[in-house]
Symmetry: C2
Amino acid sequence: MSYEAEWRARFGEETEPNPDLPDLPWLRQVLMRRTHRRYAARPVPQALLRLLLGTAFSASSKSDFQQASVIRVRDRQSRDRLAALVPDMPWIGNAPEFLVFCGDAHRVERIGELRGHINENGKLEGFFNAAIDAALVLQTFILSAETAGLGCCPISVIRNHAGAVAEILGLRDKVFPVAGLCVGYPAAAGHVSMRLPLEVTVHIDHYNDGRPAEAIDAYDRRRDSRYSLPREQQRAPDLFGYSSFYGWSEDKARQAAQPEGEGFPTFLRKCGFSLD
Amino acid sequence: MSYEAEWRARFGEETEPNPDLPDLPWLRQVLMRRTHRRYAARPVPQALLRLLLGTAFSASSKSDFQQASVIRVRDRQSRDRLAALVPDMPWIGNAPEFLVFCGDAHRVERIGELRGHINENGKLEGFFNAAIDAALVLQTFILSAETAGLGCCPISVIRNHAGAVAEILGLRDKVFPVAGLCVGYPAAAGHVSMRLPLEVTVHIDHYNDGRPAEAIDAYDRRRDSRYSLPREQQRAPDLFGYSSFYGWSEDKARQAAQPEGEGFPTFLRKCGFSLD
């Protein structure tokens, strides 16, 4: 069986057809998955949303502690306040559904109180474990929603506004936003985001970044041959000037050179984590 | 369409049949998904593994920074050393494949060097973003593998041995293990892990833990009616004694009262993160 067209879409590379591979349309769908930011007016049926939340929470969970919570934002005023935090992403305000996936290190503490075995789940590892649990639920929700014909857009930038999000959603101590998620029926085709080759991201036995320059140059070119970032989209030319060739790596290097998330440790401490 | 049997398996609750729900066998599969720790001798075909890694890296990534790496452990000696870290999980050593999903905040820095825009991606938010990227790739791999008939067992406990894992796998600074994953064709049926009801984990507009005691008592009873933890599996009776009714919440409260991961902040600092 062959997945050549889907592999080309995802990686911009050719792959060999292989008659031994099973024909699994769902894997094709994942290779062709894309973010959707524009939605049809059609609402998401409530029973379907509940079903998708059920599949989402079927994800594995560290030690079966189940440290994820989802806030479904229905109140118009709360949604508008969330949307106002990120003015260049109007889809936060206008998606048919908006969910916030949270790490929840509070519930385990609460259960400890209920059972009389007091625990302190507010160290750095408590944060880490709850964050990963939430991400596993988030990704299961996304893939389930896509399987039902919905489109999603994860909003990781809410991490830069964690304190405000926590206030708007009335989060308890040790409950923190991992990502928002816009959900709806897609109104446009969207595009497949090309990924780094597995030769860069998958390592055998030992981490290896021996030849990243060539691999990343070639990746930049493959992306560029599908879609060239126009000159006016070059990031912060006042700081970095204009590049004659402006690829993914140049764009990401510029983006990373302007730090985000300065306030995050302050938020986590305020939220009850000790970071020790 | 109805998902009653699958809902009952996952949540131990009844749900109404709903003729408007679409019939999606993949959602049924996710509701019935389970961890597998025993594997048939049959190897995982290499082309299939590559395909599954391709779908895995199709997950969304914060700002398109693509901060996940996977280490595939093929070397017998490395595998044995990893397995020796967790003697009570022999499946780490004997699963047909073992992968380690890592947050990778190093690659973005390397790209900054290549492009001459020096960045510092070693703050707490750099860790958080890379951790979430890795978790999204991990969960997409798991669901893809299950769709291809494989079974998986995530190994989050390697977080308690992060320094040793980093040494065995030759991880660079700012590359850290999020979870290991055992992969193979299942040799046993496994069982569906019952989840907290959505009334506890999904909140409308505001975080709400108003009535957790009743909801968690009821959940404990539902779990217990499917499988009672035998008296000899009560955790640390020397510390906590024996409970006449020993449910999930008692077990988790006891587990959380014995802290893990004390060394994690030390590891992260050694790994190059400043936690500020």
